[in-house]
């Protein structure tokens, strides 16, 4: 086509991409769809079920007809996807090719495959279902995701934006609303799905006006988001997707100027390539300079089709006939008639004929019904349909608006909106150029006034606009019939899912006679168009069949997302926050196998877990335990506070002493465990498990808030690093680094001491999670590597070795020290977990869990946690089932390892309470095989604790 003012393409440029391997040349500003159409492509996709040819229809990203894959990403609408140099565009859902599709056989089989047929047909015999399923899964669906994908490189972000007013839709009304609100001082964001602001103005001759409005909006300070569809309205939060960013916009007032969706008509052959919505043809023509066809028949329910006819004729396209569903000619019709075009008032299309593409349209009077006496076949290569404009109300109903059927206009109009929502423009029924502008400005003023902006002048202006709106002439529209009663051929109510009018009739006959049931049975409105093209036709069909009014039939619920959005955009920034201790760099240098442990990256081992564990037994080992949660609890009532939280007593702990404590809930269940050290009269230093640090801090501060005690809480988890120096030689090693008297008499088991180690101020705890003489050394995180290096250097003569998480797990298992969450679950009490000594029911405080534990003490659980050994070298899977004497599942293995030190397999398991005695035989069912084991109730290693206390 010759250049036209207002077109989007830049003819001086050229962009090359490929479609199914074929080179296509386009201009900058083209979409994949417009470029392919210009290159002569008419079939863009094969349909969902019948694999029928489908071509461009809306050219606005609304319908499912042009879904293609671009550079491997499926489900992209060609008609709105901008062309990119070198892009690889491929068709979907057709094999071997778009032109020849083997699955098109299903089209002929249509009569035998009504909705739900595969549920009914393929369910018998039952045993063949897996085979059926394989075939069906491959036959169904549209796009194809690659089986494997490289690690995600697409960076996406969330952005939170708080604004006074959010305007959705940047057409005439939306732009005017944004300008009016912004000029009164509101902070306005305007989001539009198109690449350029202006909406319909852009292809209906108002492009200069659109550009001027956009400039005014920018000058007024409106933040403009283009190519940015609004996805939903959740409690006032509107997610707007724009390329790599998901804007989460929260505005005090919402203006919806979402426009309307031109509706198709239901007639046989209404899906043939060449049958297009009138807006689709106008976009191709006005935006991209592409000739949609040579001979166009137009069928319309309003002046929209008439204007299309005029525009097409101006572009030199022949218009042999216009069927206008309205009985009375409008003023625009008369203009067309005077140009010698055959305008048939009260006529409609009853069929489109053609095999690959449309070649003729059959027109007939609307009133003729079943009689075909007056049918008129008109040759053409384009049938342009305009079946009325249905308001795009989905976001408004999500915001709490209500729709009702407007019998004069034949669609569901917005009847009610919540107080902080204003609707304007075509979605509000103000679709003419004149009223769109007035209602837009009015909506903007209304929004600003609702926020307390504006003055008497602006209120006067709003008043004036209201009276102008009331006086405006909106023109007549016809209500199209539900479908055209006619002979053979598929008339589609839903293009996405290939649901025909007949399918809907059948569904109703089968009893799915409410619109929501019909939706679930036939899947109408469930495809990529989300009801844009099929909601109204299916409601009309249902009303016709059931004799209900459209109001009674109602609509299906419009659920988010309103626009197609890649999951990746919703996922936000692709990053996994990782915590690393201050010593992490050293672990790497030492060749640690680093693995995830909760949020932490931790050394799992340093290449030799068995050797590392043995070093702890024979000489000394050093492990980084900086991941432990660490809390400072201070204040006059700190002791009582801890007494209320722990089932055992801490207020009587002497300064410089350490005590183990388990935390329970008010249901008596174990939540966490750790040590409590009394640092001085007023201060306690509490450690928690690594994974429980956050939860314990939250738990402590919650009760503190509730009780309001004179206690101060500080979480020092990140500020303090810790290492555990353990093994028979640890005392000698430590002595070399400190002036502290480390003799067993001066610094005995469960003592805590402040001292400098290698010059670093430390808090040393003599505790023994790993079961050997050991010192847990806590110190300022900044000294992490210094202290680590100093200890390893001081112990070099003793062959000290760093050890990781895995050897630590073996070492603690040898002592039957539990790991909360591994050996216990949400049902475990300290009694069941063989720690009755950690509960002091005689304590005066009503500590958390006291009442439940008192009950549990009298009603023992049916299972108990014990140690066990296995002789034959088999290490049971963690989670393997423990059987009771009758062979029923009664418990499970929680930990199991092979110990080099003990030269046997050891573990812990929940077993029936009656078997929780030393030497009792238990049976473990591990992945189908039964293993005999025997119960051990005391630590496997150093049962008397002599080494620990040495």
């Amino acid at each position: 086509m010759p250049p036209k003012p207002g077109e989007r393409i830049d003819r001086s440029t050229s962009v090359e991409f490929s479609f199914d391997g074929k080179k296509i040349t386009a201009h900058e500003g083209d979409t994949v769809g417009s470029a392919l159409y210009a290159a002569g492509q008419r079939t863009f996709s094969r349909s969902f079920k019948y694999h029928r040819r489908r071509g461009l229809m809306c050219c606005a990203g609304q319908c499912p007809n042009c879904l293609v894959a671009v550079d491997g990403a499926p489900g992209i609408r060609a008609c709105t996807e901008p062309v990119r140099e070198g892009a690889r565009v491929e068709h979907m859902n057709a094999r071997p090719s778009l032109g020849v599709d083997a699955m098109a056989i299903t089209d002929a089989a249509g009569p035998f495959t009504p909705p739900g047929f595969y549920y009914k047909t393929f369910i018998r015999p039952r045993r063949l279902w897996p085979a059926y399923e394989w075939v069906l899964r491959h036959a169904a669906g549209l796009g194809r995701l690659p089986r494997e994908q490289a690690e995600r490189t697409w960076r996406t972000e969330y952005r939170r934006r708080h604004a006074d007013v959010l305007v959705v839709g940047g057409g005439d009304a939306g732009l005017n609303a944004a300008i009016a609100a912004a000029e009164l001082g509101a902070d306005v964001v305007l989001a539009d799905e198109g690449a350029e602001l202006g909406g319909r103005l852009l292809w209906e001759g108002g492009h200069d006006h659109a550009r001027k409005l956009a400039d005014r909006a920018r000058a007024a300070g409106v933040e403009i988001l283009t190519s940015a569809p609004a996805l939903a309205h959740f409690d006032g939060l509107v997610p707007v997707w724009q390329g790599d960013t998901l804007h989460q916009i929260r505005a005090r007032h919402h203006v919806y100027a979402t426009g309307a969706i031109e509706q198709p008509l239901v007639f046989p052959g209404n899906d043939l390539p060449g049958v297009m919505l009138s807006g689709g043809a106008r976009r191709l023509l006005g935006r991209y300079g592409v000739r949609p066809g040579n001979r166009a028949v137009i069928v319309t329910a309003s002046d929209r089709g008439i204007r299309t006819a005029i525009a097409l004729r101006e572009a030199g396209i022949e218009v042999p006939a216009v069927a206008d569903l309205r009985a009375e000619p409008s003023r625009a019709c008369s203009r067309l008639l005077s140009q010698g075009v055959a305008v048939l008032n009260g006529w409609t299309v009853v069929a489109a004929r053609g095999r690959r593409e449309v070649r003729a349209a059959v027109l007939a009077p609307v009133a003729a019904g079943e009689s075909h006496g007056q049918d008129r076949e008109v040759e053409c290569d384009l049938v342009l349909v305009s079946g009325g404009d249905s308001p795009a109300s989905a976001l408004i109903t999500q915001a709490g608006g209500r729709t009702e059927y407007d019998s004069a206009r034949g669609y569901f109009r917005i009847a009610e909106v919540p107080p902080n929502v204003t609707v304007t423009g075509q979605v509000a029924g103000e679709g003419s150029f004149q009223t769109a502008q007035i209602s837009g400005e009015h909506a903007g003023l209304q929004a600003a006034h609702a926020l307390g902006l504006g003055d008497n002048r602006s209120r006067g202006r709003a008043q004036e606009l209201r009276s102008r709106l009331a006086a405006a002439d909106r023109g007549a529209e016809a209500v199209p019939p539900a479908e055209v009663p006619h002979a053979a051929g598929k008339a589609f109510a839903c293009l996405c899912e290939d649901v025909t009018a007949k399918d809907i009739h059948r569904g109703i006959r089968e009893g799915y006679d409410s619109i929501e049931l019909c939706k679930r049975f036939t899947t109408v409105t469930m495809g990529p168009c989300q009801g844009r093209m099929c909601q109204l036709p299916s409601v009309r069909l249902m009303a016709q069949d059931t004799g209900q009014s459209l109001e009674q039939v109602g609509t299906t619920t419009a659920r988010p997302p309103w626009s197609t959005v890649p999951i990746g955009a919703l996922a936000g920034r692709p990053f996994e926050p990782a915590k690393r201790s201050s010593i992490h760099g050293r672990h790497r240098e030492l060749g640690a196998t680093v693995r995830w442990a909760g949020d932490w990256r931790r050394p799992y081992d340093y290449g030799d877990p068995e050797g590392e564990a043995l070093a702890v037994h024979r000489s000394a080992g050093l492990i980084d335990v900086s991941t432990l949660g660490k809390l400072l609890v201070r204040g006059p009532e700190a002791g009582e506070f801890l007494d209320r939280l722990y089932p055992n007593r801490h207020s009587n702990l002497k300064p410089g002493r350490v005590r183990y404590g388990v935390l329970t809930s008010d249901a008596g269940r174990i939540m966490d465990d750790g040590t409590v050290t009394r640092v001085d009269e007023m201060s306690f230093y509490v450690t928690t498990t690594s994974s429980g640090a956050g939860a314990v801090e939250q738990w402590f501060s919650w009760w503190l808030a509730d009780w309001g005690m004179d206690v101060h809480l500080a979480d020092v988890t990140q500020a303090v690093s810790a290492v555990n120096l353990a093994g028979p030689r640890s005392r000698e090693i430590l002595t070399r680094l400190t002036d502290l008297d480390c003799s067993p008499e001066a610094f005995s088991y469960l003592d805590a001491r402040h001292a400098r180690v290698a010059g670093v101020p430390c808090l040393l705890l003599r505790i023994g999670f790993v079961g050997e003489l050991g010192y847990e050394i806590h110190f300022p995180a900044a000294y992490g590597e210094d202290l680590w290096d100093a200890i390893l250097e001081a112990g070099a003569g003793e062959d000290i070795r760093p050890f990781g998480l895995e050897p630590q797990r073996v070492l603690r298992l040898q002592k039957q020290h539990i790991i909360v969450g591994q050996d216990t679950d949400s049902e475990s009490t300290p009694f069941g977990a063989a720690m009755p000594w950690a509960v002091k029911l005689d304590k005066e405080q009503a500590f958390i869990g006291k009442w439940a534990l008192a009950h549990a003490a009298e009603h023992p659980a049916t299972t108990a946690l014990v140690g066990f050994t296995l002789d034959n070298g088999h290490v049971p899977t963690e989670g393997a089932v423990v059987l009771d004497t009758l062979g029923h599942a009664a418990g499970q293995v929680t930990s199991a390892r092979s110990s080099r030190q003990l030269e046997r397999v050891i573990g812990m398991a929940w077993v029936p309470a009656e078997l929780a005695q030393a030497g009792a035989p238990i049976t473990i069912l591990d992945e189908g095989s039964r293993r005999s084991a025997s119960v051990v109730t005391e630590p496997f290693h150093d049962p008397s604790g002599k080494l620990l206390r040495s």
Partner: protein
């Protein structure tokens, strides 16, 4: 669920900044019967309307506070530190 919540210390924030602590319930003062204990541990009123609930400003000042929220509309009527909201629902300090 998406709405704004006002932390008594930090001000208005997205609800994703906070952790929900459930409806405010009263812990028994005296030793409860087993039935009362089970009710306290496992039963919630789950009202459709205004309820008082605990919130924790997890990604902020880490303060626990209480809010009165209409569970039907997510409109938050009042917020306050423990004790500030008074005994009766919907009656300000």
């Amino acid at each position: 669920m998406s709405f704004l919540l006002t932390c008594p210390h930090c001000g208005v924030r997205e609800v994703a900044d906070f952790a929900f602590g459930g409806e405010v319930s009263v812990r028994p003062r005296e030793t409860p019967t087993f039935r009362e204990l089970s009710r306290y541990n496992y039963f919630r009123r789950n009202v459709a309307g205004v309820q008082r609930e605990w919130w924790y400003h997890r990604s902020g000042c880490r303060t626990w506070f209480q809010a009165e929220r209409d569970t039907r509309t997510n409109v938050v009527l009042r917020v306050g530190l423990p004790g500030e909201l008074g005994a009766e629902l919907g009656v300000g300090p």
